[in-house]
Structure formats: C-alpha cells, structure tokens
Amino acid sequence: MSEAVAAAHAFMAIMRRDLHVYMSYRTRLVSQVLTAVFSLTLFYYVSRLVHLNGFTSPASYFGFVVVGLALVSVMYSCFLIPEYIRQELVAGTFERLVLSPFGPVRSVVAMTLFPLILSFVLAVFTLALGCVLFGLQLHWSTVPLAVPAIGLALLAFLPFGLLFAALTVVIKQGNVGTSWVIALMALTGGVYFPVAVLPPWLQEVSRLQPFTPATNVLRHLLVNSSLTVSIGPSLLKLAGFAGVLLPLSIVALSYAIRAGQRRGTIIEY
C-alpha cells in the first residue's frame, strides 16, 4: 500500500515538475491562447466563404472545424512525449529517472499527464472562445458525455506517443516522424473537412486510425453533427485502440530502455 502511495506521489511529482517548467516560461500560455484565437478567427471567416456539401450553414461548418481543431490539439499533445524524452536525454535528467526507484517507464507514462491535461484545458478554452466570440452553438444536453469520450480518445492516441517515445530512446531524435503521423491523422481523420470528400483509398486509411471515430463521436456530442458511423462502433474502435496498443506501447518502451541499458546506449544523446 505504501509503495502504491509513494508511486502515486512520484507520478504527481512529475506532473508538477512539468507544470512548474511550463509556468516558468511566462509567454508560452499567452502564445497558445493567441494561437487558438487566430485559428478560430481564420476558420470563422473561412466558414463564411466556403460552401460544402453536407453543411446546412456556415455555422454548422464552423462547429465542425472547431471541434476538429480542439481534438487535434489534444492528439498533438500525445506526440510531444518524444520531444520531451529527447530534452531529458540531452539534459542528463533521463538518467536520473532511469536510476530512480520509480523507474523510467512509469516516469515516461507520468510525463504524458501534464501535456494531456493542458491540451484538454486548451481544447475547452477553444470551444468556450468559439461560443463567446463567434456564436458557436454547443449541444449542451450531450456535452457532459463528451468528457468520458475525450478520455477514451486520449487513451487511444496515447500509445502512438509512447511508441514514438520508445523510438526516441533508441535513435535519440525527438522528431522521429511524429509530424508526418499527426499530419496524416489530421488529414484522414477529417479535421478541416468531412472524410467523405477524400478519395476512396484515403477513406480506407481514415478507418484504420483512432482520430476518425474520435472526431465522429465528439462532434456529435458537442455540436450535434450527424454521425457518419453509429456511436457504439466508434467507441468500440477507440477502446480497441486503447486496449491493444496501450499495453503494447508500454512493453515497447520498456524494451527500448532495457535494450539501451544492455547495450550501454542509454547514456547517449
């Protein structure tokens, strides 16, 4: 029991550390808030110019894209972990985590917590800004259901970040193709436009990743968009990604660290 409590404290300590480091850069939050404002403003006016089949009004396209933008920022946070690992390797602090009783695998998993919480807060802020400044109409009766849905989506996205983190431990680079994967998932997941407008082969790709069911479910719950796939199978797909890939990604991370210790490359950066 005391071991579990100590582990929980260690887990939270890593989150607090990341919070303190984040807060020490005072302009970072301002920059992220301004980015959200500019993105919303841009897409608000784009929604007034572009008429797409499947959208009854500019407001319905604006709601569609705002939820996509909020979710892509959440997904992006999962892919920040490799860069954090890279920074830890260079600073020599990763060694400290490896040599701690808490251990490197639990530490890396704990390192995902702060970026996820921050991205969740920024996503809520983006939606709130959309409501206040641009008249975004949320479907309030189902909004509370979006919270567990986004939690499930996070668990489905997280393994990708952990797998890339494992790769970073091995090849010592932060950008190990994460930007390509984010771009591909955003493109085929329908952030800016419905998946239906994509060529058939890209639509097939969209079915193979968790971003598509996540946007489908969250758009329905937040702005009452019509479902492209019913909600049950979409949630099941997200749970499948989380249930299968999360243990696999943790095993991969553990293996990468142990291999680094065996070969002695864990000290390299």
């Binding site: 005391s2 409590v5 550390r17 020490s24 400290r96 251990g103 002695g264």
Partner: protein
C-alpha cells in the same frame, strides 16, 4: 592482487526510511556487502579489448574507496554499471546481495550515483523544487519526505539558494545541489564520479561531512577521479584501473 574481501560475519543492512531491506541468504564466502562487483566485463567495441575485464571489487560497510586511472580507462563505465544504469556483458553486481536485474526498484533505493559533469538538473526549477522532485521519485515514504528535503538543505547549506533557479546558479552551486540530491534519499551506497568538480573549499568540506555521516552509519562510498588529482582524503583503499582490472594504488 584483488581488493580486500569482506571481513564481517553477518552484515545486516539498516532498515531506513521504511524501506524493508531484504538480503538474500548466501554462503559465507559470498556474504552480502554494501557493493560487490564480481567478474564484471564490459566491451564497447567487439574488436578492442574490454574496458573492464573480469573486474572484482567489494566495498566494506563503513568504508570509502577510491578508484583512479587515466582518462578513458573505464572508471565511469564501472560506476555506471555499479549504479544499475548500464549492464555489464558478464559478471554480477549486487548491493547488499540484491542485483539490479532481480529487483530494480529496491536496488535503486539502496544505491545513489553522482555522474561527472553538471548534467541531470532541471534548469527552470528552483533548488527546493529540484530536491522535492528528487525525493518523490526516490519514493520516500510520506513521513520521511519533508525530513529528507530539509536535511539535504541543512547538510549542504542550501538555504540561500533554495528559491533560486538552477539556470541562475554557478557551476559550483549546481554541483553542491547535485551532491545534495545524491545523498538526499539516504542511500546505503554512494557512487561519486569526480565529485569535487567546480566545488569550492566549503562545498568540499560539506561533502566530506556527508560522507563521514554515511560511513558512520555503515554505508559505503566509491569515489572515482583521474589519477593525479590531488586528493588529501583518508580513503580506506585506493585502486587504479589498468587493462580493465583493479590494481592497488
């Protein structure tokens, strides 16, 4: 010549900080020691001689051992293996009978490593936050957490620096903090790689006091630094690494 062997009959590690120390039952000739390296071999290149070649070293309880040697001879490699950071190709390393591969979390509770250089600190955190973080990932039990942090601040006289960010500190101040973090979890074995780097006389004196306290509690210290460094320190034994093996200095 091999390092002196353990001369105590039944070494019993102290149960500190709520950590339940378990020592494997062993035959007398392999009785548990604070740190024991047996036949440790490590090669970095398959076509070159191993940097450590069947190296043996045993630290006694309450002892301070120095290992020197020229640059690149394998001192840091030996320390990294002893710390559990990297694996040896063959041989066994154990702290009080516990090998890292058998119980990594317990091993890391027993041993603490100060790497050479000035890395391993979070530049944007204050000294207090750095120490608190260190105590948390050391998984100190709740009653010991605050006490350990305060003790580290007192022992290494960090009061004036406590709210200062690491990136605003001098190299010597950072080194003092790094040493404080090494001793903070109250390890049984402390591994020091060139610990005097950037330290002023006051910092060095604080380090010696911390070592004396650890030794008085039957802990053990392994200190590595290049041969030729003027060390006026009463080590219990002195060795150098030559051709991958320890030789009495």
């Amino acid at each position: 010549m091999t390092p002196r062997s353990l001369e105590i009959a039944e070494p019993v590690p102290r149960a500190r900080d709520g950590i339940d120390l378990v020592v494997a039952t062993r035959a007398p000739e392999s009785a548990a020691a604070p740190l024991r390296l047996r036949g440790v071999t490590k090669s970095w290149h398959p076509d070159r001689p191993p940097v450590l070649d069947e190296l043996d070293l045993t630290l006694d309880p309450g002892s301070m051992t120095w290992v020197g040697g020229r640059n690149g001879v394998g001192k840091t490699t030996m320390l990294r293996i002893a710390a559990g950071l990297i694996d040896s190709d063959s041989g066994r390393v154990e702290v009080w009978g516990v090998a890292a591969g058998e119980n990594r979390s317990r091993y890391q509770q027993l041993v603490s490593f100060l790497p050479a250089g000035d890395r391993g600190l979070y530049a944007r955190l204050t000294v207090r936050k750095q120490l608190e973080f260190c105590a948390r990932i050391a998984m100190l039990p709740r009653p010991r957490f605050r006490e350990a942090v305060d003790e580290a601040i007192d022992t290494f006289d960090l009061h004036e620096l406590i709210e200062r960010r690491v990136d605003r500190m001098s190299m010597g101040q950072r080194q003092r903090l790094r040493i404080a973090m090494t001793f903070l979890p109250r390890p049984e074995v402390v591994l020091l790689d060139e610990p005097l780097t950037s330290l002023d006389g006051e910092g060095a004196a604080l380090l010696h006091q911390a070592i004396e306290k650890l030794i008085a509690d039957d802990g053990a210290v392994l200190w590595c630094s290049p041969s030729g460094e003027n060390l006026d320190i009463p080590f219990d034994s002195r060795w150098t690494i030559e051709h991958g093996k320890l030789v009495a200095a």
